[in-house]
């Protein structure tokens, strides 16, 4: 047993990651390596994971610097599909803007935008079948929008009003829509990862043809569930697509705190023996192509894929967050992969299928439509303004049938309300 410090060894030191830029710094992303389009050509969907390791360190791209769709990953989408993709991304952006404002106006308690990451929910969903099950985190509202879930129902949920399908029980944006293949969102990060694997295993065990897709952020990859999920998926060759939206930030912690200083998130697939793809997350066509590759692979019993979307969280983590307190201003403007909406728009213009005028008109149309929907939703009430589900519903659905102790507590709550608001309260 050696006590004390040995003179001939340099002292150990603890490495605590630090982002390159803090408030007041000028961001400079010139060290980010952006490979040429098709630096690695698209492999066959049945490729062995061991043969495609390079894709986990590369960056799948389709749109070149002139916004043309080129290379082996080009999914060859027609103009109508591309315009629909752009429309959904713009609608998502309009929805986010409106709901962020609604929170600032005190109409709801909380909101989270997905600004800058629209492709990772819209383009991915377009590459899936409509009955594939999505296990989202809280920043994939684009899935619902892409699948034409009623916006008014999303707003009702955000307002926790009398029209809220979740009866005011859930924090805003924690949607659930089984009929739309959208799994109930949980506040607990990455719990959806093993659940998506279980869903996919169930589908495979029943000789179904449906697959599952699951999303988490870069920060959440540090959770134990991430490891459990990848292990189970590899063991059972589950038809599941793991997606890591690497937007560089987990609230105030940069991705270095999830291990990004040493390797890519896609490369984590390698250790599990599953396919890993790293993709330009702001290139909607590349995102679509990667998802399509992984979906085809899963659907043909080729097993799971882990896709990392390299992107940037354009705004604050949530309405409760001020990114100016921990990161350099203007980072998003300087982000070398640009903005996913702008890049898709520019591509459509380059191929002669879109114009700036059409674009401006569409933004106005969507903004007006969202505004009108908002008015409709507010007919059902806003948070804290009386219109909500009957109070008794607080006690429902804890169990399939309400046990005696909840019935007792429900009665107690109703008596409290009578005390608070007087006997005429019930007649309201």
């Amino acid at each position: 047993m050696v006590h004390g410090i040995k003179n001939n060894l340099a002292p150990l030191h603890l490495h605590v990651p630090e982002p390159k830029f803090r408030p007041g710094d000028k961001a400079d992303f010139s060290d980010i390596i952006i490979p040429e389009v098709d630096a690695i050509t698209r492999p066959d969907e049945r490729a062995s994971p061991a043969d495609i390791h390079a894709l986990a360190y590369g960056l799948v791209r389709v749109l070149d610097d002139d916004n043309r769709a080129v290379g082996s990953w080009n999914p060859g989408l027609d103009a109508d599909t591309l315009r629909n993709m752009l429309r959904k991304m713009l609608l998502l952006r309009a929805f986010d803007d409106r709901m962020f404002r609604a929170q600032r106006q005190g109409k709801t308690s909380f909101y989270m935008k997905s600004f800058g990451e629209e492709a990772t929910s819209v383009a991915t969903t377009m590459a899936l079948h409509s009955d594939d099950m999505c296990f989202p985190s809280y920043r994939q509202q684009g899935i619902l929008i892409t699948r034409d879930y009623p916006l008014v129902d999303m707003m009702n949920q955000i307002y926790s009003n009398s029209g809220d399908r979740l009866k005011g029980r859930q924090l805003p944006i924690m949607y659930s829509a089984k009929d739309y293949g959208f799994f109930s969102i949980s506040g607990n990060l990455t719990t959806q990862y093993p659940q998506a694997v279980g869903w996919a295993m169930a589908s495979a065990s029943r000789a179904d043809t449906r697959i599952s897709a699951v999303w988490c952020g870069d920060g959440s990859t540090a959770e134990g569930d991430f490891h459990s999920a990848l292990t189970f998926a590899a063991v059972y060759n589950a038809p599941v697509i793991f997606q890591v939206v690497n937007n560089q930030w987990a609230i105030s912690s940069f991705s270095g705190f999830a291990g990004s200083e040493r390797t890519t998130f896609a490369a984590r697939a390698i250790g599990y023996g599953i396919a890993g793809l790293r993709v330009d997350g702001n290139d909607a066509l590349a995102v679509f192509a990667a998802m399509q590759w992984a979906a085809n692979r899963a659907r043909t019993n080729g097993g799971p894929t882990l896709i990392e979307y390299f992107t940037y969280r354009g705004e604050g983590h949530s309405t409760s967050d001020d990114p100016g307190a921990y990161r350099a201003a203007e980072e998003y403007a300087l982000w070398p992969l640009g903005d996913p909406v702008t890049r898709l728009k520019d591509h459509l213009i380059v191929i002669g299928a879109w114009s700036d005028e059409q674009h401006e008109a569409l933004i106005l149309e969507l903004s007006n439509s969202v505004k009108a929907t908002q008015k409709e939703a507010e007919q059902n009430g806003i948070l804290g303004h009386g219109l909500h589900h009957p109070m008794e519903t607080m006690f429902e659905d804890v169990f399939e049938e309400m046990p005696w102790h909840l019935k007792e507590q429900c009665e107690q709550m109703l008596e409290e309300q009578r005390d608070k608001f007087g006997p005429e309260w019930e007649a309201r």
């Binding site: 979740l166 949980s186 719990t191 990862y193 659940q195 279980g198 569930d225 999920a229 063991v235 169990f399």
Partner: protein
């Protein structure tokens, strides 16, 4: 109609039979866990089931409780009825987030959009020289979680009927199996030979399908002097002590801890005027505290003595000093003396 065929089974065989019956009856039932497939489980609870029902119905898993329960939640969301096994209740903690934050809340948070009809089986309890991590009784961690049902059988007959009911229940159920009584009831006298189940009531188990409703306690001995609320292994320890000392106790095996059969408890304590709660788990914030509080609120004017709690001590479960720790005959006899004196 002829009586259904019964067979003498120990608790392991009864659990195995329940799983077999449900695999046969419901194609959505799947069983998974560490060593449960080919090998048939470290306690043999799943012996022969993979061979009979196939590898997609009964299969081994990686050693990951978080994964086992998380995957189960996803399977339930798909529409299956998973019955995962956690090898020892002492190892359920890595799966707690999935149980507490996910399984228990699924129906509520999605307003019935998604449900979780999953039954997590796990051997639990002490009395086997299992030391710290093969002896724990963590039931109060689950009774404290809204949305989970907690079930603990005390006989082979109950084990099969309750397990079938748990699997058929559309809510998540934690099903704790007292491993001390897998092979025979335990009197608490560790120095006496254990008799096999075949010599005891409760081992005659119908071979086919039957169920025992959840949330219904069993009065295992009627009495007038004191009500004893207990479950699992302790049902048999209490029975032995009561018989030895000639106490006219009413012994209630709760069977389902949550939702609790409060009517049976209330009626009994109002009749006897005394109440003792007995469990192996540690004392502070144990399930006994909830039982004592419920009885105190509902039966206050009927109580002739303070409610007595006989439990494990507030220490991790020791190895060598197991029989000083376990709430055995001496601790019970002293508690009976005290509660009958008042």
């Amino acid at each position: 109609m002829s009586e259904p065929a019964t067979k003498s089974m120990n608790m392991i065989e009864a659990i195995n039979s329940a799983l077999d019956v449900m695999l046969e009856k419901d194609p959505e039932v799947v069983i998974m866990g560490e060593d449960v497939g080919y090998f048939g489980g470290v306690f043999r609870a799943t012996a022969g089931l993979q061979k009979k029902h196939g590898k997609t119905r009964v299969f081994d898993t990686p050693i990951s409780e978080c994964g086992i329960i998380g995957v189960g939640v996803g399977m339930a969301a798909y529409g299956l009825r998973p019955v995962p096994e956690i090898q020892f209740a002492d190892y359920i903690y890595p799966g707690l987030d999935q149980l507490v934050s996910e399984a228990a809340r699924m129906r509520y948070r999605s307003a019935n959009d998604f449900i979780c009809p999953m039954t997590v089986r796990s051997p639990f309890g002490g009395g086997i020289f299992g030391g710290q991590t093969h002896s724990q009784s963590p039931e109060s961690l689950f009774t404290h979680v809204c949305g989970i049902k907690t079930v603990i059988p005390a006989t082979p007959y109950d084990a099969k009927g309750l397990l079938i009911a748990a699997i058929e229940d559309n809510d998540p159920v934690v099903f704790f199996e007292p491993k001390r009584i897998y092979n025979g009831p335990f009197s608490g006298y560790y120095d006496r030979p254990v008799e096999p189940w075949s010599k005891h009531d409760g081992s005659a188990v119908p071979e086919g399908y039957y169920r025992i409703d959840l949330s219904k306690a069993a009065v295992v001995r009627e009495g007038e002097a004191v009500t004893v609320l207990t479950y699992g292994t302790m049902v048999h320890v209490v029975k032995a002590v009561v018989a030895e000392h000639g106490i006219d106790a009413e012994i209630i095996d709760l069977r389902t801890l949550l939702p609790l059969d409060i009517e049976t408890i209330e009626a009994s304590v109002k009749k006897t005027g005394r109440c003792m709660v007995v469990h192996e788990a540690t004392r502070t914030s144990g399930f006994g505290a909830e039982l004592a509080a419920q009885v105190q609120e509902r039966c206050f004017y009927h109580l002739e003595a303070p409610i007595e709690r006989v439990t494990g001590f507030d220490t991790p479960y020791p190895h060598s000093l197991e029989w000083a720790y376990f709430p055995g005959p001496v601790r019970l006899a002293r508690a009976f003396d005290k509660i009958m004196k008042d």
